[in-house]
Amino acid sequence: MGDNKKIQRFVFQTDGVCSPEIHFQIVEGLVKDIRFVGGGCPGNARLVSRLLEGRPLEEVAMYLDGIECRNDTSCPDQLGIAIKAAKEGELHPADSFRIQTDPDIHNRIGFVGEPAGDDQAMEKIVSHMVETGVSTVYCLGNLTGNSHHNRELIGFVRKRNILAVQGARDWQYAQNAEGDLPPLTAKERDWLLRLPQVLEFRLGGRKGITFFGEYIQDFPGFSDYEAFSLEMNMVCGLTNFMQDETVFPALEAMVPQFKADIIVFSQQKKWGHWQVADKEFVSIGPAAQDGELAWGLLESGEGKFEFKTVQI
């Protein structure tokens, strides 16, 4: 909103090079924000990104064509192929945010909010969830925090294959904008970058989504008409994360257009559950608060929906 520049964001799946993806934007005919993601030589990749930042599409080809590194291609060569494909309309712009779908249908889901680099708390919570009999664990951002254990937490989440959504601070980390926070490796940043912003799931016969909060709406090219944008606009913008109950009549008028039945978010760092019409809204609080550990349990059975906060 406010900036009317047409920003197109692209994600290119590479072939034959170390980086599995190249991300870039095209803004009014200029190439911007090039990022080689998931591997490769981070130093050289950043140099390429800096050198090409803001250059016209027509100009970049001469820098990229015909460079070989391995498998008769290279990261720059792949970038050249990607930009050419985007220019010729063969590579379509990506959605502004990533949606991951959990293909399994669950009846008991455990949610961890804002672990913020507290790997010890995370391990205790996940163990407790497993003892309690959840069928899956979803971790909401922020995974990272003002902690010297962010790397351990990321390692734990990856090792246990926990489905995680990115938080605002995780996004900042991924952009090399962590400020004074402890540094991560390039691979860890890339892992944070590739986290979905929205996780789609099934609880019993109902569809749910979970996301962190409003930072997603500031992504380049964010559209109010993308899948689940309406749910985000209503939660983040209209109701201020369900804190303003005076606008619930308006929310009730909008929910028939929702694609999801259950909307779970965590930006507020508060616990809460609201039902508006036939939709469930859940705010997940932080994993650790005032020395207490807590997680959220969503259950479904015989058509019923239940949410509770589990204290450890």
């Binding site: 109010d224 309406l230 606009n233 913008g237 209209l238 606008v247 009549p249 308006a250 909008m254 257009q257």
Partner: protein, 76 residues
Amino acid sequence: MAESVKVLPDDIKELIDVHEWDMRTREGVQRFRELKAKSLPSVALDEELVYESLIPMQEELIEEIRRRYKNKNQGV
């Protein structure tokens, strides 16, 4: 709601500028909050929320528009 405005007589339409906001959008939500509206549909006249959760009868809407127009143009 916009339909009820679209079918207003031409002499009334000449007195007003009509803006419609899509509540699915961030811009629509922002406008809704600026007007301190609570429910849908809502109609504001001269930045003032006048109708909420109801579509006024055409005669009522015309009368309200005329009244406001008259008040604003008194002494002109």
